[in-house]
């Protein structure tokens, strides 16, 4: 039996000019993808924006639940051009584990369940929707300003159901 939980690719940022992390030609042979990011932005106030298949149209939305140490909040993004991959500013580091469910089926829209942790500020979770039945073959995580700090890592895993 092939491995059920497999590492597909890892990207580790070097230098000071990386603003875009891309996983392309993602094989369609898994059931779910898991994307693990441990990243830091070069400046404050930046976010990480998640895109699928190069789609920059208003085809994304999300519902979020998070706490900042004193308040629990839920908010929503509608008809957005990306999914908010980061929770707040991450110049002190952010850890994200994203489950991209049934990414290769061509019947359902794509749902992402992710947990976000900005150790100095927030903990939360988000459910995101990409309104497309296309199989996901490319994932981009683009920083909204500045660059990813060297050492930031992004790892993509595939989980294959029986």
């Amino acid at each position: 039996m092939p491995n059920t939980f497999e590492a597909i690719a890892t990207q580790t940022v070097s230098g000071s000019s990386t603003t875009n992390i891309t996983f392309s030609s993602i094989p369609s042979t898994y059931t779910d993808l898991v994307l693990v990011a441990n990243a830091t932005a070069s400046t404050s106030g930046q976010g990480m924006n998640l895109y699928f298949n190069g789609d920059a149209g208003s085809n994304y939305s999300s519902t979020r639940l998070y706490g900042n140490g004193s308040t629990a909040t839920s908010d929503r993004q509608t008809s957005g051009t990306f999914i908010n991959f980061a929770l707040g500013s991450f110049n002190n580091g952010q850890l994200v584990v994203a489950n991209i469910m049934n990414y290769s089926n061509t019947t359902t829209n794509k749902t992402v369940l992710l947990r976000q942790n900005t150790a100095s500020a927030f903990v939360g979770a988000l459910v995101g929707l990409w309104r497309s039945t296309s199989a996901i073959s490319t994932i981009e995580i683009i920083i909204s300003g500045g660059n990813y700090v060297a050492g930031s890592t992004f790892s993509l895993y595939g989980i294959a159901a029986a």
């Binding site: 059920t4 469910m101 749902t111 979770a125 929707l129």
Partner: protein, 187 residues
């Protein structure tokens, strides 16, 4: 390997289950046309430490709440907690002495077509006969203007090893076609 489980897995997914590593796929159920009242995993092998169920689901009706029971226990031997957000507010809830745990809320028939909710749930130490059984889940659905994000946990007050898991829609409606749940064993 249990021949019963092997046959069961084969009928569902077309593959015979054979243990291989620390994270194994045990079985997958995908709902066909006409829907399904329940999704059940039976004859679960006791050779793992934890179980994980990963799935996408849609309620063919209007509830959206997914319930779970273990070992066909329908008595009031469960309790649950949740923290969830609906885009407007963050809420907490709890219930005790109840007949099921609730992994999450998924899409309903009023949601956009082709939109399904997602659940990733863990059942910890499921085969341990010295502990009650704990479930935790991350679940949610977004419908571009509505939806819910959930953190949930549940307790089954039984020290029996879990050999079967039943998932069903609260209120008695069906899982819609293309709902799919995959069971994994973790060593």
């Amino acid at each position: 390997m249990s021949p019963i489980l092997g046959i069961y897995a084969s009928q569902i997914s077309g593959h015979l289950w054979a243990p291989s590593g620390a994270y194994d796929s045990i079985a997958t159920v995908t709902v066909g046309s006409g829907g399904a009242a329940n999704v059940e995993f039976t004859s679960i092998p006791s050779t793992y430490t934890h179980l994980q169920i990963r799935g996408i689901a849609r309620d063919a009706s209007t509830s959206g709440s997914i319930n779970m029971q273990f070992n066909t226990d329908t008595a009031s031997n469960y309790s649950r907690h949740a923290i969830y957000g609906d885009g407007s507010g963050a809420y907490a809830s709890a219930a005790s002495t109840i007949a099921f745990v609730r992994p999450g809320f998924v899409a309903t028939s009023s949601y956009g077509s082709n939109t399904f909710g997602a659940i990733v749930l863990d059942v910890l130490d499921y085969a341990n006969t010295n502990k009650y059984k704990t479930m935790r889940s991350l679940a949610g659905v977004d419908n571009n203007g509505s939806g819910e994000m959930d953190f949930r946990s549940g307790l089954w007050q039984s020290t029996s090893a879990i050999t079967s898991i039943k998932l069903y829609v609260d209120g008695g409606s069906n899982f819609a076609q293309y709902s799919s749940f995959a069971l994994y064993g973790i060593k």
